[in-house]
Every structure is written in C-alpha cells, then in structure tokens.
C-alpha cells in the first residue's frame, strides 16, 4: 500500500510542476487536452474495465454535455454555473435512458446499440442546424472566470483541469474498491453467480452506466471550456473509438491505464501529426504492437515486466534456488 501511495504522490507532484517545467503554452495546452481525454477514458473504463460492457458510443456523453453547456451559457442566457449543472444533470439523465435501452442486450448487441445511439446524436448535431449550427458548430463561448481566476491563461486552465481530473480519478479509485464497484466487477466475471448471490445484475450495470455517463459529461464540460466551441466532431464515432482505444491500450480495469492510454493517443495525434501525414497509421501500428506484446494494456504489461525484472535480480543476488512456494502451482486447472 505504501509504495503505491508514494508513486501517486510523485505522479501528482510531476503533474503540478509540469507547466513550470514546460513553459511553452502549446505543450501546456496539450497537457490540458490529455487530462480531458483521460477523464473521458476513465469514465468509459467504468463500463469497459470494471463492468465488461464494451461501449462504442461514449462520445455521446461528452458531446451532449459540451453542446448543452455552450448552448445554455452562450445562447440561452444562463450563467456558467447554472449551464454546467444543467448540462451535467441533463446528460446524466440521458445516460439513464440510453442505459435502459442498451442494457436490454449484452456483448455485441450492447456495443451496437451504444454505437447506434451515438450516431443518432451525431445526426442531430449535424442536421438540426437551427439549434446546433450544423457542421459550423456552436461558438461565441468563452472560458469562465471562477473566483476571479482567468481560465483563458493556459496554465490556469491546466490547473483547473488538473483539479477536476484529480477529483474524477479519486472518485473512480474509491468506486473501484467499494462494495458497489466490487459487485460490478463480480457481474463482469460471473453474472450468473452474482444473481444467485442476491445481486441485481441489471440494476448494478444500469447504475454504473449512469455513473460513467456522469463523468463523461464532466469531461465534455471541460472540452467545451477548452475549445470554447463545439461541433459535431465531438459526437463522431471516431471520438468514441479513440476513447475506447485509450482504455484498451492503457489497460482496461486499471486506474491509471486509461490515463496512460489518453496521453499516448493525444500525444501521437498532436505531435506525430506534425511530422507524418499518415499519423493514423502510426497509431494503428502502436496499437497492434500493444495488443501483440501486452494484450491487457500498457499499465499491466509494464508493471509485469518491472516485477519480473525485480524478481530475477533478487534471485540472482541471493544466488539460491527459487522458493518452492513461489513456483507457479501445478494443481488446479483454470476454471471455465
């Protein structure tokens, strides 16, 4: 427990000092983008990683919240706070409706329904020009100034995003180890056993779906503040697919996997695209390599490598035969 807490503290310190070290506004902005993507990926991880529910429509929540907040605050005359609260609440309510529809199916059916619902929203954003501005999107939105802090400054916005990111990660960390989170992970592994143990599997999945939608909406809020503009692009299938890629590449079901995945995708997208026109191919190649060499994602893969390295060093230092108890068990086949 202690060493992991140290790691988190070190990680946090690096994140806090980052703008001072980097200096350049471009890279500070890039870090803000990573944080926003990380919140969205972490929220999808609730479904994919802990619930085993692979969704290909998670952009729906970020996109809807982004549209809502821009529309309400910049065009309907609500304040920033009221707009933000209504956007998150409305999007969370939509997640409840979508969850009710999508959870009627499981596996591939679930994936297809989430995809279809996402596409419907994209269609609305694209076609309902009078409300959404169509392809031109909705603009005329500026960043808020909470407590007199001007978020137009890149470093200030970075810290704002960092605070929200910290809250999101802390909440998801608590969720992961909570009775409810552990129940969700149980329904992922043995749904039938879970209902025989008295758990209402559907309700657990639905509530988790809504919770994932809530954090997705929070990410969408930050997205709108960051870009000060929203267009159908945020609701597009590629946004959903990229988010899913972040979760899987980083390590579904781990706390930091989606964060690492988000950093990887955003950096590749922004940095590599400056040098290579076909950066998508590079992203594809990196993803294939991850799937081949670390099928459960970067975070579990690297930590396994690290552990193996430490173990071999320890045994080499002791210069003794490995302890019999530490050998992999020969008894007990994998249960089906």
């Amino acid at each position: 427990m202690k060493p992991s807490l140290l790691w988190v503290a070190a990680f946090g310190a690096v994140l806090i000092l980052l703008p001072q070290v980097i200096g350049s506004a471009y890279y500070v902005n890039l870090c803000s983008q990573i944080l926003i993507a990380a919140i969205l990926a972490s929220s999808l991880n609730i479904l994919v990683g802990f619930g085993g529910l692979t969704s290909l429509g998670h952009a729906a929540y970020a996109g809807t919240a982004a549209y809502f907040t821009v529309y309400l605050s910049a065009h309907a005359g609500f304040g920033y706070l009221a707009g933000a609260v209504m956007a998150v609440a409305g999007t969370t309510a939509m997640a409840l409706l979508f969850g009710l529809l999508a959870l009627r199916a499981s596996g591939l059916g679930f994936l297809m329904i989430t995809l279809a619902l996402g596409q419907i929203l994209w269609g609305i954003a694209y076609r309902w020009v009078s409300l959404t501005g169509g392809d031109n999107g909705l603009g005329g939105f500026t960043r808020p100034q909470p407590f007199g802090i001007d978020l137009a400054d890149p470093a200030a916005f970075y810290y704002f995003a960092l605070v929200v990111f910290g809250l999101a990660l802390f909440a998801i960390h608590r969720f992961m180890h909570s009775p409810f989170g552990q129940s969700l992970q149980g329904t992922r592994d043995q749904p039938r056993r879970m209902s025989a143990l008295g758990y209402n599997v559907r309700s657990i999945q639905l509530l988790s779906f809504v919770y994932a939608g809530f954090w997705g909406a929070v990410a969408g809020l930050l997205y709108a503040y960051y870009h000060q503009f929203v267009s159908p692009h945020v609701l597009h299938l590629t946004t959903s697919a990229e988010t899913l890629l972040m979760v899987i590449a980083g390590g579904a079901g781990t706390l930091f996997g989606p964060v690492v995945g988000a950093a990887l995708v955003v950096i590749l997208k922004n940095v590599a695209s400056a040098y290579i026109a076909r950066w998508m191919m590079l992203l594809g190649a990196v993803f294939v390599a991850i799937v081949l060499f670390m099928p459960d994602g970067l975070v579990p893969g690297v930590s396994r490598l690290f552990r193996r390295f430490r173990n071999t060093r320890r045994t080499a230092m002791k210069n003794t035969e490995p302890d019999a108890a530490a050998l992999p068990p020969t008894l007990g086949k994998r249960s089906a």
Partner: protein, 247 residues
C-alpha cells in the same frame, strides 16, 4: 414443523419442443434432506435452475416458504433465503477465497450499493468470511487466489459461499463430483454438520453418501417424477431399478 419450505405444482419447462421438466409436483418440508436421483438428462439441474430462478417455467408454480415466487428473479429468491452450489464450478477465479466469501456475504447486505466505502475495510465481513472458510476446512487458504487451489478446495468453497448466506434452503448440485475418496469423506462430514433449520435439496450420484444423507428421495426420468418416498421405499421400489438398470 409441518410447513412446506418448497412447493412445486404442475411445473413444466420445454427447450424448443423438448420437455426437460414435465408436470413435476413436489413438496419439501422444513429441515428435510431431499435427494434428487435420476440418470443424465433426467432434468435434475433444470429443476434446480427453475427453483433458483435462472430459468422461467413454461407453466406451473413454485412456492418458497409459503410465498409464490414463480415471477421473482434469481436475486430476489436469494434474498428470500435460497442458496445454491453449481455442478460446474462457478467462482471468481482471480480473487482470493476470502474475497469470494465476502462477495457472498455482501450479496445480502444493503451496503452492497455503496460506491464510496472501502470494501477492504469492512473488517466484520472479512472476519466472518474467515470463520466460514474455517468451517469448511479452508481457513489456512483464505488468502490464496482460487486459481491456485485444488479442485477439492474449490468444491468446498462453493459450499462455503452458499453456507455464508445462512440460507433457509440449500440447493446442492453434485457437491461430491470429481472428488477423491478422502475429500468426499470430508465434504460428507461437512454436510452432516449443517443444522436442521436448513432444508437441503441435493443432486448426487454417489449413492453411498447420498442415500445415507437423505430423508426422502425423488427419482426423475425424462423430466418426470417416477418414484418418491422414504429411502427404504425408493430403494425397494422396482421402478427405481428399472430407471437405473433398464429392463
């Protein structure tokens, strides 16, 4: 004492056109040990799945503790006091034995809905889980992941998870399947120690153990009840021999 814990009336279940359970009517009294016998494919496990709620009947009713539960979901029936084990072991393989039992204990508690608390800090649950594991002789293995345990240990964990819930009725689906002679003996002792306020319905092919354990026996064939009665009645009935040995 004369109340039926489980009452099944006119129960049918078809898979496509195939009748898996046909017109089954059954009554199990409180505290009884009931054995379900029958060749493979007789519908024993289907009957269990119908009682537990994993399957919905094509027609007929199931009552538990005097209440019609035919329309209730599996988890709702569990909340009423049903617990079961599986013929095919169904456990959380990567988790420790203690974690498996904790999930079982948590299933009947309101706290299972809490998304902020730390499950690891629920000391009362973990202590109770260790007690239950000690009861089935797995106290020493509480912190081992299921993947690193033997088949016999997993069978006992199945039973521990069911017992942890203090059920009023326990459905045991072949609790001795695949065990060595020593392990069988241990599980048999374990089952004998279960207090009489728990009603037990068991499917088992090990006749020595099963016959010694049962008060009453129901013999099924092709989804239908062929013989039912006390141990002596069923053993003496020529139809029992017919089911097991053919003509």
């Amino acid at each position: 004492m004369n109340t039926a814990v489980l009452e099944i009336a006119g129960l049918n279940r078809f898979f496509g056109g195939l009748p898996a359970v046909q017109n089954v009517t059954l009554k199990v009294e409180a505290g009884e040990r009931r054995l379900l016998l029958g060749p493979n494919g007789a519908g024993k496990t289907t009957l269990f799945n119908l009682i537990a709620g994993d399957l919905k009947p094509s027609s007929g009713t199931i009552s538990l503790f005097g209440r019609d539960v035919t329309k209730l979901r599996t988890d709702q029936r569990t909340q009423c006091g049903v617990a079961r084990t599986y013929q095919i072991i169904t456990l959380f393989a990567k988790q420790t034995l203690a974690h498996n039992v904790v999930l079982s204990l948590l299933g009947l508690r309101k706290r299972r809905w809490n998304p902020f608390a730390d499950l690891g800090a629920e000391t009362a649950l973990w202590e109770r889980a260790r007690e239950v594991l000690a009861l089935v002789g797995l106290g020493h293995a509480a912190d081992r992941p299921v993947l690193e345990t033997s088949y016999g240990e997993r069978r006992r964990l199945e039973i521990a998870m069911a017992l942890a819930q203090d059920p009023k009725i326990l459905l045991l689906d072949e609790p001795l399947a695949g065990l060595s002679a020593d392990e069988r003996f241990e599980v048999q002792r374990l089952l004998e120690r279960i207090p009489r306020d728990v009603t037990i319905v068991m499917i088992e092919h090990d006749m020595d153990v099963a016959l010694a354990f049962a008060d009453r026996i129901t013999v099924l064939q092709r989804g239908q009840i062929v013989v039912e009665g006390t141990r002596a009645e069923v053993v003496a009935d020529p139809k029992t021999r017919e089911v097991y040995l053919g003509h």
